[in-house]
């Protein structure tokens, strides 16, 4: 049954693929299946050339550019939607929606797979990749130039004191080398505490630390990710551990999670904001 369904879908895609292979230098019907490509497409293209973006891009909890996504059609990343919308370019992440990507590749629908950007170098690569694919290289360079201007400013005025920051999620996991958070924090001019943690406690790109170890590492500032509508989970401030309340009153900051989920030209703005918050707290810290 499942096989039959797939076969039918493949056949339908082949037929329709032939029908809508319109020869044009600039894709006019761009469909994005991934939150990060959504946010690039929304900045690179006029709305009439965007067929749909993923449903996450309209969620305040996940997307930074929700306002730009309002009014744009959304998709849930299914092959049926691709069939129905007949895009001339599909943008997808290189990790998500594997079955849809496999199907599109098999039937030859133009597909660009965009990896997640976890550093400013990767942000440049990814932005250029998407800009080239949609035929808006110039716009891509403008966005990157803005980003590089902010980065240059930040580099020229690095804070002299060493400020150690721990991004404490309340569940014992701290982003380490190789994560976008680490990159933004470094550019903001602070020291990520993950670099001081023994490598035996690093798994993947995260360090695992319990409260005892966190207290022993003595970071200057604790940073929490916050979504715009407030978190609905256990790392809520009211449920904060007494030790944290005792030691870190006035030395806690929050950062908007939506800005740290995808590597975008705006990540430079995130770094600038983070530096301002950190310096502010250090000035007033007890």
């Amino acid at each position: 049954m499942k096989k039959l369904l797939i076969l039918t879908a493949v056949a339908a895609l082949v037929i329709s693929g032939v029908a809508w292979a319109a020869p044009s230098s600039k894709p006019q019907r761009v469909m994005s299946l991934n939150l990060c490509t959504d946010q690039l497409v929304l900045q690179l293209l006029p709305r009439e050339r965007i067929t749909s973006v993923s449903y996450l891009s309209q969620s305040w909890e996940h997307s930074y550019l929700t306002a730009d996504a309002l009014g744009v059609r959304i998709n849930f990343g299914t092959s049926e939607e691709v069939l129905k919308e007949q895009p001339d370019l599909v943008l997808a992440g290189s990790a998500s929606t594997p079955t849809v990507r496999a199907l599109l590749k098999r039937v030859g629908v133009p597909l660009v797979e965009v990896p997640a950007a976890e550093s400013f170098a990767e942000i440049r690569t990814v932005t250029r990749q998407v800009a080239r694919a949609v035929g808006e290289e110039e716009m891509g360079e403008i966005l990157l130039a803005q980003m590089d201007a902010t980065l240059d400013q930040l580099g020229a005025s690095s804070p002299r004191q060493r400020i150690v920051v721990a991004a404490w999620d309340g569940a014992g996991s701290i982003p380490a080398k190789g994560t976008l958070f680490d990159e933004i924090l470094t550019v903001a001019g602070a020291h990520n505490i993950a670099a001081d943690i023994s490598t035996t406690l690093i798994y993947g790109r995260y360090a695992s630390v319990d409260l005892e170890q966190l207290v022993a590492l003595k970071p200057d500032i604790l940073a929490y990710g916050s979504s715009r509508i407030g978190r609905m989970d256990l790392s809520n401030e009211k449920l904060q551990h007494r030790v944290i309340r005792k030691l870190y009153r006035g030395r806690e900051i929050t950062y908007p999670e939506t800005l740290y989920g995808c590597g975008l030209p705006q990540s430079a703005t995130a770094a600038a904001e983070l530096r301002r918050t950190i310096l502010d707290v250090m000035k007033r810290a007890p």
Binding site: G172, E212, A216
Partner: protein, 349 residues
């Protein structure tokens, strides 16, 4: 299992009872000493190494340096919670095994833990936990009460087998509801938080948790302690117990509410911790015989020892992320469960 004790006590009631009393007193003192020793070990163990002298001075000094903070605000509440929750689970297991006259009975089997988990997940999911920190234990309690009432209502009249089957069904239902909550979770982060919480852990708990859950656990255990005499009578069979003046319905109700209070509060602090309630009573039963009133206290102590021992082990195993307590007890407890099941044909009446 009751028949052996009956035959033994019928043979020479006086002698057996006094021998049992001596044995149970001996067992109680051994368990108490063991628990105290483990408590000391617990204060010494953690991912940060503190010298025994630092721990001692941290315990008794008034100034809040970093060592004393770790000892008094992190390791002490964690130890207290492990002991209290382990004891609670052990006691609940003993009472439920006596009540259902089934060696496999425990809060987890009868749906209590899953119900409490679901209640707590609801509190996290709808953000009620963010409004008041008392929401999680209260919702846990309501969930445990609802789930166990359902089990007792469905399984009523069909004997112990029906009760256990009803418990299995209620467990699956609660698991389905938790999956639904995960399915509809508002964000990946929320789903992740719920999943991690469900794995069960005592990491980074504070005195706030003791204050929140303690009263409910105490109240629940007090209710359970009231049932001992009736449970003894019940071990002779329902009709015999009724003829001795035991109100079975009232007994069931008290045991139900007591377990729900205790397990609901305990689960809301740790997440689901299985098998402590099952294993605790079985460990002490060979030493004190099969009389429920004699098992309650040793089972509570054994539960506390198991829980504290398991928690210390998870703290000392250091492989990247901390091994969750619930995962550890499940891994250790399941073989014991297998063993119980293979023994069942021999012991079942």
């Amino acid at each position: 299992m009751t028949s052996a004790a009956e035959i033994e006590s019928n043979a020479s009631p006086g002698r057996v009872r006094s021998r049992d009393a001596v044995r149970s007193r001996l067992l109680l003192s051994v368990l108490t000493v063991l628990l105290m020793a483990l408590t000391l070990v617990s204060l010494l163990s953690g991912r940060v190494w503190l010298r025994p002298s630092e721990v001692l001075s941290g315990l008794f000094s008034a100034n809040s340096d970093f060592a004393s903070l770790i000892v008094t605000e992190l390791r002490m509440p964690r130890t207290v919670l492990a002991v209290a929750i382990g004891a609670t689970l052990g006691m609940c297991g003993a009472v439920l095994q006596g009540l259902t006259r089934n060696p496999l009975a425990e809060p987890g089997l009868l749906g209590g833990s899953a119900g409490a988990s679901f209640g707590a997940v609801i509190a996290i999911y709808f953000g009620i936990a963010a409004i008041s920190s008392a929401a999680i234990p209260i919702f846990g309690l309501i969930g445990a009460l609802a789930a166990m009432s359902l089990t007792f209502a469905i399984g009523r009249g069909g004997g112990t087998l029906a009760l256990v089957l009803a418990g299995t069904a209620v467990n699956s239902f609660m698991a389905a509801l938790i999956s639904l909550a995960l399915n509809l979770a508002p964000s990946v982060a929320a789903a992740f938080e719920i999943t991690t919480w469900l794995l069960g852990s005592l990491a980074d708990r504070s005195w706030d948790h003791v204050v929140l859950a303690g009263p409910f656990m105490l109240g629940g255990c007090a209710l359970l302690a009231v049932t001992t005499r009736s449970l003894d009578a019940l071990s002779l069979g329902e009709t015999q117990a009724a003829s001795l003046g035991v109100n079975i319905h009232r007994l069931r109700l008290i045991a139900l509410v007591g377990t729900a209070m205790a397990v609901g509060a305990a689960t809301s602090v740790t997440g689901a911790i299985g098998f402590i309630g099952l294993v605790g009573p079985h460990l002490v039963r060979p030493f004190v015989g099969y009389q429920p009133s004699r098992i309650l206290l040793p089972a509570a102590l054994a539960g506390a020892i198991l829980m504290l021992g398991a928690d210390i082990t998870t703290r000392l195993i250091s492989v990247g992320p901390e091994m969750k307590l619930g995962v550890f007890t499940a891994l250790i407890g399941t073989p014991f469960f297998f063993w119980l099941v293979t023994r069942l044909p021999k012991t079942a009446p």
